[in-house]
Point group: C2
Chain length 317, copies 2
């Protein structure tokens, strides 16, 4: 279990109410950021302190791994210089207010703050300007909670109002709502794009033309196949990408679930790659232990760009 | 392949535009109707003639088995004496207009109309008042299409605008829209009920309390489990039913798919029953051939009422 400290800056209200953290993938100049990379390190069960305006306001628990997501529309004009693409991490916040000002206990806190990539400047007690999601030690959590006579053990129950599973849905709802005012979409395309979110309509028809059989199980019965996006619907940047048959695969329902969740991907030759997060025991329970692709054939060149996106951005190696 | 003739009466416009047929389950006096029972006999690939106002207007092809569904809200005041619960059958209509009046060819048609449960009175050529979905012979189709110099073979292509897969979604969208004006739902419950449609939110939490492990595969990893309704969300008649933990099962994704689609159910003791529509070959491809329940235990008494609903109304024996 890890302990995280997020410096929300201007987005605390949305992120607490929405039950998530969102960061761009990279700095605005394109360089990597340890604080953004941490979004993909955080794992279910990790604790998070919510910090803004000099104060730790709340404590939460990570409820799932981060997924890629566009900048939440509810941020509106905040962070206009951030990239539009980023990571969203579901966090379930406990109701109990913390309300501790770290600066007030800086003399004891400074020595246990991390030496690099600290959320707080140990000299001044001010938030580190570059920090977003920073890792701290269990001792930092214990000390700050001690200020309100609380312990980490007080928060070992999952919050009752656990959202998280519906996170991708929430993000997709926001995107779908944005279509209503998109002058580039006529009614037909809007309807097709909305159907494509669930792998239906013209997207499904087009995928069926390209890849009519589940590559993993060999199932070809239409009633048992789901049309899945390689580049996820929520990350596509145009109706064209959302409706492209070459961005899709017909998969059996459990294979679709694993593929969507990044627990399974393919390489360009069609070989399977399972995530290390998927245990052999669960693979066996899914009937997929030691499975070889029923259809082993290289991906069409127009599919490879979408497949690579999946390998890099969706697959949890 | 079967040939069907639907007498739409007042709902032709909605059923042609929407790509479906809808009927109540039973007559208003509660008795069975052959014409309504036929909704569950129709199978993908069957042909349908659309008849109303003395004319066969269109031909369509059934694209999936019927599912249970409330009366479409777009019927508005039509059929107020029909039961609110019925069958919906997805039909993809061909664009080509037929425009044949059967009465005009009654002298040749009468002898090949079915002797019982005919869509048309063979004496008068008028639509049979009680008829909704009637089975007719291939010869009836051939004769009527012959009037416009067409043959059944002209319609052996699937219509290009194939909807159907999104049918349940469409029905559920209509229900969800109806919540916006439901004075019995406060914002919290409305949000919970909408999340429950996707097996999320408080519904999922409650199911996890009741049935935390997939009965079929034994999977207990939360990240691999879907919360599924026994009495389908779209058929529940209250927020209470939609949110009831005892109306749910946690299932692995492929098991959830089969259960939702009526290809799998359980008996009260927890034994599995697979639909005869699921081939042994596909069961094997899904890794479920010869599978025994990982957890064999009787259902809780509060679940049995929901389970029976699934056995009777969802399961395709």
């Amino acid at each position: 279990m890890k302990f995280w400290w997020v410096n929300h800056k201007q987005t605390q209200r949305q992120e607490l109410a929405g039950g998530y953290l969102w960061s761009p993938k990279v700095e605005k100049n394109g360089s990597r950021s340890k604080f953004y990379d941490n979004m993909r390190v955080a794992a279910p069960g990790d604790f998070v302190f919510s910090y803004a305006s000099t104060k730790i306001a709340r404590i939460g628990v990570v409820t799932d791994f981060a997924v890629i997501a566009p900048k939440p529309t509810e941020f509106r004009n905040v962070g206009t210089n951030w990239g539009a693409e980023g990571w969203i991490l579901p966090v379930s916040w406990f109701d109990r207010a913390i309300g501790v000002k770290p600066k007030a206990i800086l003399s004891s806190l400074a020595s246990i703050l991390p030496k690099s990539h600290s959320p707080l400047q140990s000299a001044t007690g001010k938030g580190n300007q570059k920090a977003y999601l920073a890792e701290v030690s269990r001792e930092v959590f214990a000390m700050i909670l001690g200020e309100i006579n609380a312990t980490i053990g007080d928060f070992d129950q999952r919050p009752t109002d656990g959202p998280s599973q519906n996170f991708v849905d929430k993000v997709e709802d926001l995107i779908e709502q944005s279509f209503a005012s998109d002058p580039n979409l006529n009614d037909t395309v809007r309807s097709q794009v909305i159907q494509a979110r669930r792998g239906q309509g013209i997207f499904r028809s087009r995928v069926l033309e390209c890849e009519p059989i589940c590559r993993v199980t060999g199932i070809s019965d239409l009633g048992l196949l789901v049309a899945s996006h390689m580049k996820p619907w929520r990350m596509c940047t145009s109706a064209h990408e959302r409706l492209a048959g070459r961005n899709g695969l017909m998969l059996a329902p459990h294979v679709d679930f694993l593929f969507d969740d990044g627990l399974l991907t393919f390489d360009e030759t069609g070989e399977l790659r399972f995530s290390s997060r998927l245990s052999q025991e669960n693979l066996a329970r899914l009937g997929l232990k030691g499975v070889q692709p029923a259809i082993l054939q290289p991906f069409h060149r127009d599919s490879v760009v979408y497949l690579r996106y999946h390998q890099i951005n969706v697959f949890k190696s």
